[in-house]
Each structure stands twice: as structure tokens, then as C-alpha cells.
């Protein structure tokens, strides 16, 4: 490290993003003499808010030494192996996007083309039936990898966590590990003459100075706004502008996946935890009032809803996430559409990139340029995944879904869908968050059946293919039966930790 590298880092924000950032920075840079201070603003969380996470969170927790037993025990959360998408109009079959691979190679050939060919020869079994992770989820079982499963393919899992409980846990950990914190109702950036941030002014004439800042204030991005960073709207890409969160009755046994149900005016997601089912509803104010949405959501979710709270959703990205000496994390950098619940993932992506580019001297223009470029492409590829979900819907006559089919696509997504339709090949870009298996599940699930497949699979005889497919199905059936039920697994995991 050379002279002038930031030492006093001030994190301004609220809820899980600011505390996750505090934990990550403290752990990674504490030994380098970087002091982490949090200015905590009032929470905006509602009891019904949930973090339906993606699989990458678990390794981050491991790195942060956050024990899973504690996480699940304290938050009364649940595991999830994926998402099931249901079109309630029945115009398209339901499908699973599970966090695991499909099938296994047959004579060294990728599985998807083998499946496509078998399908052409009359196979009736769906792609997701060859996904061990999806099969376990459907049976209400967790998937605990053994050496056979690891040799077979890839499997992963994520969590459903009450947002309030998870944020409280992160705060507890951050404070315990020596992060300094100030509570404030409001924080206002004070700029140096050169335009960089000098500190933040809090009510009651308090002022906290630092040399580097994180803006985790949420969508208004208070610090970035003080630095005049513009926001580009993604309204052309997304129809939903209202998001409703509510509690529904808990489901027994607790499902080990979430379900996203499309109805005429939007979609309703059910995220089960041990305490309740968190309900998330997305719709457009152009077609539906909040009141009607609540009624419709209860009907679609099949449960009475309580504790409902509605907020506006204006997807869009800041022109840059890092400006001068301030990095925006989470919604301050980018507001995503609620589908696929990527919010916490976006926080994590922002933090991981920041760690690898954290300034080592006073001039860090090159790191900033690299960061902004990486974050932009990472966020846009996440957006593509979400866009594909709307674009490819086959819901019948409905203003919401018709508009969704007419949304603007990025050139990358256009190319990706075209290539997949032509060949079953996923055009994979730099900085992708979702993996090839995720894209395959999404595209096939939405009915994009490739017109052709890798011709090399024709060299395998149909008999061998058929035998191997049968063997895979038997393996999956047998392995699923060995797995613990989600309820049992939750009990085992929670039993290892004292209740908070």
C-alpha cells in the first residue's frame, strides 16, 4: 500500500445491504488497517419483506464465518433448491428453475443436445425431470451431495430469509467484529472543494468524516445523488411498477422451493420460511389498483394475506456505481425488477468486485473505470435474465403480459435467444451471474425449443442414448429417495445452535 490509500471508510445506509457490506469490508480489509464505520439510517423493511437469495450467498457466508445453523436458527428461514414458475391461465405448462445441472454427459456429449435429439425421436420426459435438484425439490427433500452426486453433476441451494431477521443478524455480527456505528435519521453528504465527499452531516450537528464512502441508502442513492450521478431508467424493459409484500399462512411441510404464479395482471411469488409464507406481488399501476391487487394476490396465492405493504418499483441503473470516492451498493447503484429476487445478489456482486479493486493509493481512477465497466455488464446480464422471463411469457390475452412481450431487449439478449433458438447453445458473456444451466432452464421452461442441436450427438446410437437416459432417471429417483425431507433437515440444522 502506498500513501494516500483510503483508511477511513464510511458506510451510509440501512438494512441488509449496509450490514453485509460492513461485514465483508471489515473481514477483508480490517487487517490492512482500514477502519469501517456505519452510519445507520432508519430501516425501511416491513415484516413481510423477504430475501429470497441465490446460491452464491452461501460461500460468501462461509468466508464471513457466518454459520448456516445460526443463520437458519435465528431467522427461522428455510432452504430453497429453486423456483417453480406457474402460468395460472394454463396456456403454458409449469416449469422448474432449479439450482443444479440437467442430466449428465452421454459419450462425452453435453446433455442438452442429447435430450433434444431424444425428444425428436419421441422422448416425452421433460428437461427438468433430468435435474436431480429439481426432482428433490418437488419431493420436498433437501439435496445433500455425496460423492456419487458430485460425480453426476452440479447442485446448489439458497435461502428464504425474513429480511428484518437477516438484517439484524448481520448487524449483530458486524458490531461484534468491531465495526463502529452511528444511528441517524438522516445523513447529508458534505463535499470537498474538489467535489469528492468529505463526510456526512447527521441531525444534531454530528458530522462523520472519512476518505472513502459506500452509499447503501437504497434507491434514492443519497450520496451518489449528491455527486450528481444520473440514473438511467429501465422502464422500457419492465412493466411492473408496483410491488406488494405480505404474509401468507405457513405451509406444512415447508416447501424447499419458491413458486412464482403468473396471473392476468402480474405475478405472485410464494417464499416459504419456517414462520410463514412471504408473498411478493408485482403488477402495473396502469392496469390494476393496489386494492384490487391485494384481493387478486390472495386469490392467486390461495391464502389470506396480512401485513401487506405496497411500494413503487422504478427499475434503473446509475450511470456509474463508483463516482469520485463513493461506491453505491445495492439499490443505490441499481434497482432491479423483483422477478428472480436478485437484490441481495446485486449487493454481493458489488462488494466482491469492490474488494478486488479497493484503492491502494490516493489516485484510483483506473480501479474506478474497471469497477464501473464490470458492474455495468454484470447488472445488464442480470437484467437480461429477468427480461427473458417477461419477454417469453405465453400468457394469453392480458394487458400486462402483452406489454411484457413488447418490452425492449438488449442486443446481447436478442442474440442469446436467437442463438439458443437456432442451436440450443447459450451465448455466454463476460460477467454473467446466471450460469448456462440457469439459462437452459429458463429458456426451455418458457418454451424456446431449439430448431437444431449439436450434430455430433448423432454419432451416439439411439439405443445408447435411450439406455443412458433411463439410467439417469433411475439414478435421480434413487438418490432423491435417500435425501432427508426439508423439515427434517431444518430440524437437524437448527438443533445444532441455541435459539437467539
Amino acid at each position: 500500500m502506498t500513501a494516500g490509500a483510503p483508511r477511513e471508510v464510511i458506510l451510509v445506509g440501512r438494512d441488509a445491504p449496509v450490514w453485509l457490506a460492513a461485514c465483508v469490508l471489515q473481514q477483508a480489509l480490517g487487517t490492512a488497517g482500514v477502519k469501517i464505520t456505519v452510519v445507520e439510517l432508519p430501516s425501511r423493511l416491513q415484516a413481510a419483506d423477504v430475501y429470497a437469495t441465490l446460491p452464491a450467498l452461501e460461500p460468501l457466508h462461509t468466508r464471513l464465518r457466518i454459520e448456516e445453523s445460526k443463520l437458519i436458527g435465528v431467522t427461522r428461514g428455510a432452504f430453497t433448491l429453486g423456483k417453480r414458475f406457474v402460468d395460472t391461465s394454463g396456456s403454458a405448462p409449469a416449469f422448474f428453475h432449479a439450482y443444479g445441472s440437467h442430466g449428465a454427459r452421454i459419450e462425452q456429449k453435453e446433455f442438452l443436445p442429447c435430450w433434444l435429439r431424444a425428444r425428436k425421436l419421441g422422448l416425452q420426459v421433460g428437461l427438468e425431470d433430468f435435474c436431480l435438484t429439481a426432482a428433490a425439490a418437488k419431493q420436498g427433500r433437501m439435496l445433500v451431495p455425496d460423492s456419487q452426486i458430485e460425480a453426476h453433476g452440479f447442485t446448489d441451494y439458497a435461502y428464504h430469509l425474513s429480511a428484518i431477521a437477516y438484517s439484524a443478524l448481520l448487524k449483530f455480527i458486524a458490531l461484534k467484529r468491531g465495526v463502529a456505528a452511528h444511528q441517524a435519521r438522516e445523513a447529508r453528504a458534505v463535499l470537498h472543494a474538489d467535489g469528492a465527499i468529505a463526510g456526512v452531516e447527521l441531525e444534531g450537528d454530528r458530522r462523520i468524516d472519512g476518505d472513502f464512502f459506500l452509499d447503501a441508502t437504497g434507491e434514492e442513492g443519497q450520496l451518489l445523488s449528491a455527486l450528481a450521478v444520473q440514473r438511467a431508467s429501465w422502464r422500457d424493459h419492465f412493466v411492473a411498477d408496483r410491488v406488494l409484500a405480505a404474509h401468507g399462512a405457513s405451509i406444512h411441510p415447508v416447501p424447499v422451493y419458491s413458486e412464482v404464479r403468473a396471473w392476468a395482471d402480474g405475478w405472485v411469488a410464494l417464499y416459504p420460511t419456517q414462520m410463514s409464507t412471504h408473498i411478493c406481488v408485482a403488477y402495473s399501476s396502469a392496469f390494476l389498483s393496489d386494492e384490487t391487487a391485494l384481493q387478486a394476490a390472495a386469490r392467486v396465492a390461495g391464502t389470506a394475506l396480512h401485513g401487506a405493504a405496497v411500494r413503487a418499483c422504478e427499475p434503473g441503473r446509475r450511470a456509474v456505481a463508483w463516482e469520485r470516492n463513493c461506491v453505491a451498493i445495492g439499490q443505490a447503484a441499481c434497482v432491479f425488477d423483483p422477478v428472480h429476487s436478485v437484490d441481495l445478489q446485486a449487493v454481493q456482486v458489488g462488494l466482491v468486485h469492490l474488494l478486488h479493486l479497493f484503492p491502494v493509493q490516493a489516485d484510483y481512477g483506473v480501479e474506478r473505470a474497471e469497477y464501473n465497466q464490470n458492474i455495468r455488464s454484470a447488472f445488464e446480464r442480470i437484467r437480461d435474465f429477468q427480461c427473458a422471463h417477461y419477454l417469453l411469457n405465453r400468457f394469453g390475452n392480458s394487458s400486462f403480459w402483452t406489454r411484457a412481450r413488447e418490452q425492449v431487449l438488449s442486443p446481447e439478449l436478442t442474440h442469446k435467444i436467437a442463438t439458443f433458438r437456432a442451436r440450443g447453445d447459450v451465448a455466454y458473456y463476460e460477467d454473467e451471474t446466471f450460469m448456462i444451466d440457469d439459462w437452459q432452464a429458463l429458456l426451455i421452461g418458457h418454451g424456446v425449443i431449439p430448431e437444431s442441436y449439436d450434430p455430433a450427438v448423432e454419432r451416439t446410437s439411439p439405443e445408447v442414448t435411450q439406455r443412458e437416459l433411463g439410467r439417469l432417471l433411475s439414478f435421480i429417483r434413487a438418490k432423491v429417495e435417500e435425501q432427508p425431507s426439508h423439515s427434517d433437515y431444518l430440524q437437524t440444522v437448527c438443533a445444532t445452535t441455541p435459539r437467539a
Binding site: L357, H415, A418, S452
Partner: protein, 509 residues
């Protein structure tokens, strides 16, 4: 049935023919290759990258047999001499540097060890492959290797013999070879796709998909379809090479050598039966006569032929796949062989083509959706290799030499300038999902050409200093012990793939 017609029979043509028959179902594809004995191939000694082993494995080729037939030797890296300043040497190895501690890359720990007075050895000492190169040692890598001793290997071989080898292999598996020169290319009047080729003999050959392996002539892709050429010669001004084989002398090095010259650089590629040499130069900055004289003076054995002149230009076709024609090899682009990428570029193009191959019954054999994806991959690969090559020419202190001064004065591709800055500021090296080159390769050349980061990643401070000190020492011991167990390269070659191992062994008793 799809009829694939390959025009041109050098390394590109025969690698392509072999790849297609090895992978595609013969009931659906018919592969024809047209070549002419009257047209010479570039065919000088070739140095390759480790990926070639994957290609040979795809074909199911027996390694020792292939090496015997092509007079091949092993290659663990490239030695660069005199690139920064006269007398300098460094090796770009096909292997890792050091290991990760706390998830942080090795160069940061090394920088920290230096700054904190732990007196670590030179950066290159922490590479198993480099140490093996320095000792002319070789051993087959073990899949159980940890990162600290990880390396891969490539080959030096006679490219003409490799093409011959693949020709026999491919013809034995159903590729139809036609002798002749293409004199006319007819396009389909409506689609504009290539429809028919006419040979000098008058024979007409129809096809569905045409693969242009005609080298710099780019007969189909460039001359007929007019795929636009993007010129990079302002960054890479070398436009000639003089190639000459000489007698083998001294130890058999398990690496290619590249020695910087005032007008370019000289390669040295050790084969079993001779050593390949060549001077890649820029005709703007040195005359052919001077280049020839310099080359011959620097040979380490008697010249076995007259130096042969090759002409080229750095750049690439904007669309390597256009309509129903795919350019592979020099027909689609050229980057000087400084980092042995020529055969690698051919291989990658073949693999991408196989992945995106038009199929029987397709409505359109010139499906833009497939060619767009092919070209996207090809663009990224060419751009990144280009940056890596330019790095050698700009990161050095060879001032007062017109060629070198010229390149250093050019405005760099922004992508390269950015990479160099990130390294200089903080030892950061790029990571690509599937591109070239790897982080370790960038490290080798960035350090080798004399760049030094001003600071290291602050997360490296998480490792206690005493632990780092012990770890670095232990690492060095492990690398030394590992290389100690290797055999001399020449001994491995003799036992594994030489023509005369038994005779020599008897004689030496």
C-alpha cells in the same frame, strides 16, 4: 447430406478436415478437401500451445506416435531474450506462479513479501515450469498436482509433417481429397452464397458449406465474398519472416526461444532432427538483406537450406464466417507467431464451427444466428491475443531503435492501456471467462517485460507475515523438489517418441 468443401491443405485445412470427420456423423456430412501441389504451404517449424493436446485427444491420436511422425519435442513455455533490455531473459511458462493464500493471488503476496523485507526470490522462481525450462527438464504433469506445481505442455513440431499426418488420418476416415487449383468461384444468383468451384482441370465442385483455408490469399472469404479486412499493422508492423532450418546442437530445450532484434525478433524452435529458426521483421525498418544476414549469423548450427521469405500483414477479417463460408487460419486473420497462437486460432475456429455447424434439413445453411455467435467468439479471441502481443512491443526500454520507438509511440488499444495501468497500479491482471491468455500468462509477460506494480491488494495483509514467510520458503522447496525429479528433456524424447531409441540405448551400453 451436407457437403462441406475445404479449400486449401495446409495445417488449417487438414486440421479442419480431421476435426470434422472425427466429430460429425458421417451419415450427415460429406467432407471434401481441395489442395494443389503447386501451391506451397507456409509450413515452417511450429510452436504450439497446450490446447493442441485437447485437439489431438478429440481425434483420438496416439501421442507418442504423433510426436514420432512429426519429429516433435515438448514445450513448457517461451523464453524471451533481450526484450526489455539487452541481456534480459524471462520465460512465459505454461503453468502457474505460486499459490493462493486467503483467496488472494500470489503476485500480491510476493509484492508484500518484498515490501516487508522478507527477501523473496525473484517472481519467476515460484514457477515450476520456468525452473524446468532453465534445467532443460521435462516430465508429464500429474493431474494430482496442486496449484503451486501446476503446468501443462505443448509441442514443437514440423507443421508440414503434422499436415501430412492429419491428411493420412483424415483420408483414412472418409475425407475426400481432390488435387487441383480453384480458378473460379460461382455464387448463387439469389442468395449470394457460394455455390460452385471450378478447378483448373475444368472439374466443378458443388458444396453447401465452404471452408476457406487458402491462407493469406483468402480466396473465398476475402477475394470472393469481400469480407472486410481490419488492419492492425500500425500496432504490429512486422510484415515479413525469413525462415531457415539448421542442424541441432546443444541441449534439447523444452521451450521456444524468441530473441528481440532491432527490426523484429528471431524464433528458435527445437525439433528432434533439426532446429527451426526465423526472423520476423518489419520491412519498413530493416531490409531483407540485413535480416537474412542477422538470422544466419545467429544460428546455433549449420543452415540446412536457403532462408525462405514469407509475407504477411497483421489484422483480421471482420466477419470470419460470412454467408456459407468460414475462414479458418490465415484466411481469416494473421497475428505474428510471437506467442505461438497460429495453430491455436485454427483449433479454436474448428471447435467453434463444430459447435455451431449447420445441420441437415436446416432452412438456411447461412444462418446468421450461428455465424454471429461464431464471429463474436472469434472477435474476442483475436482482440485479446492482439493486446497480449502488443504488450511485448510497448513494455520495454529499447529506445533509439526505430521499430520499437514507432510502436511505443502508437496510441494503444484502450483495452490494453487499461490492463497495463491496472497492473502498474496494483498488480491486477485480467480474468476472462473463456478467453486468452490466462492470468498467469499476463503475469509472466508483464513482470518479464519489466513492469512492476506500485502496490499490492490490501487483502493480502490478512495473512500473518511469519506465515507468509514460511509459506514462501516451503513453496520454493516444493518446486525445487518437484523439478529435481524430472528427467532431461532429451531423455524423455528419446524414450518416448524418437525414431531410434533402441539403437541409441544399445550403443550407449
Amino acid at each position: 447430406m451436407i457437403k462441406v468443401v475445404i479449400v486449401g491443405g495446409g495445417s488449417a485445412g487438414w486440421m479442419c478436415a480431421a476435426g470434422l470427420v472425427a466429430v460429425l456423423p458421417r451419415s450427415h456430412y460429406q467432407v471434401t478437401l481441395i489442395e494443389s501441389d503447386e501451391i506451397g504451404t507456409v509450413g515452417v517449424g511450429e510452436a504450439t500451445l497446450p490446447a493442441l493436446k485437447d485437439f489431438n485427444d478429440l481425434l483420438g491420436i496416439d501421442e507418442s506416435n504423433f510426436m514420432r511422425e512429426t519429429r516433435a519435442t515438448f514445450k513448457l513455455g517461451i523464453e524471451f531474450r533481450d526484450w526489455d533490455l539487452p541481456g534480459d531473459r524471462y520465460v512465459h511458462p505454461f503453468g502457474s506462479f505460486g499459490q493462493l493464500w486467503g483467496g488472494i493471488e500470489f503476485q500480491h503476496h510476493w509484492m508484500r513479501a518484498r515490501q516487508r523485507g522478507l527477501n523473496p526470490d525473484r517472481f519467476e522462481a515460484y514457477s515450476c515450469a520456468i525452473r524446468a525450462c532453465q534445467r532443460n527438464a521435462f516430465e508429464f504433469p500429474d493431474s494430482q498436482f496442486t496449484r503451486s506445481t501446476h503446468y501443462a505442455y505443448a509441442y514443437h513440431f514440423d507443421a508440414t509433417l503434422y499436415a501430412d499426418y492429419l491428411r493420412r488420418w483424415a483420408i483414412g476416415r472418409g475425407v475426400q481429397r481432390m488435387e487441383g487449383q480453384v480458378t473460379e468461384v460461382a455464387l448463387h444468383p439469389e442468395s449470394g452464397n457460394i455455390a460452385t468451384l471450378t478447378l483448373k482441370s475444368g472439374a466443378r465442385i458443388e458444396g453447401d458449406l465452404f471452408i476457406d483455408c487458402t491462407g493469406f490469399r483468402s480466396l473465398l472469404l476475402g477475394q470472393t465474398l469481400g469480407s472486410e479486412w481490419q488492419d492492425w499493422s500500425h500496432w504490429l508492423p512486422c510484415d515479413r519472416a525469413l525462415a531457415v532450418p539448421c542442424e541441432r546442437s546443444g541441449d534439447l530445450t523444452p521451450y521456444t526461444r524468441s530473441t528481440a532484434q532491432t527490426g523484429g525478433w528471431i524464433w528458435r524452435i527445437p525439433l528432434q532432427h533439426r532446429t527451426g529458426n526465423g526472423y520476423v521483421f518489419s520491412s519498413r525498418f530493416i531490409s531483407e538483406e540485413d535480416a537474412r544476414e542477422t538470422l544466419l549469423r545467429q544460428l546455433d548450427g549449420r543452415a540446412l537450406a536457403e532462408p525462405k521469405l514469407l509475407r504477411f500483414r497483421a489484422g483480421r477479417r471482420v466477419h470470419a464466417w460470412q454467408r456459407n463460408c468460414v475462414g479458418i487460419g490465415l484466411a481469416s486473420g494473421f497475428l505474428e507467431p510471437l506467442e505461438s497462437t497460429s495453430i491455436f486460432l485454427i483449433q479454436r475456429a474448428i471447435q467453434d464451427l463444430l459447435r455451431l455447424m449447420p445441420v441437415t434439413g436446416a432452412a438456411d445453411l447461412a444462418d446468421r444466428r450461428l455465424s454471429d455467435e461464431f464471429n463474436r467468439g472469434s472477435d474476442a479471441l483475436y482482440d485479446r491475443i492482439r493486446d497480449f502481443l502488443i504488450l511485448h512491443y510497448v513494455a520495454n526500454r529499447r529506445s533509439g531503435q526505430p521499430l520499437w520507438d514507432h510502436v511505443r509511440a502508437q496510441e494503444l488499444p484502450p483495452s490494453l492501456r487499461h490492463k497495463m495501468r491496472l497492473f502498474e497500479v496494483r498488480g491486477h491482471v485480467p480474468y476472462y471467462k473463456d478467453g486468452f491468455f490466462s492470468r498467469d500468462s499476463w503475469l509472466a509477460v508483464l513482470f518479464g517485460q519489466g513492469l512492476r506494480p506500485a502496490a499490492y491488494d490490501r487483502m493480502a495483509d490478512g495473512v500473518p507475515l511469519a506465515q507468509l514467510d514460511a509459506g514462501m520458503r516451503e513453496l520454493l522447496d516444493r518446486i525445487h523438489a518437484h523439478v529435481e525429479q524430472m528427467r532431461p528433456h532429451s531423455e524423455v524424447i528419446e524414450n518416448y517418441c524418437s525414431d531410434v531409441p533402441a539403437a541409441r540405448q544399445v550403443a550407449s551400453l
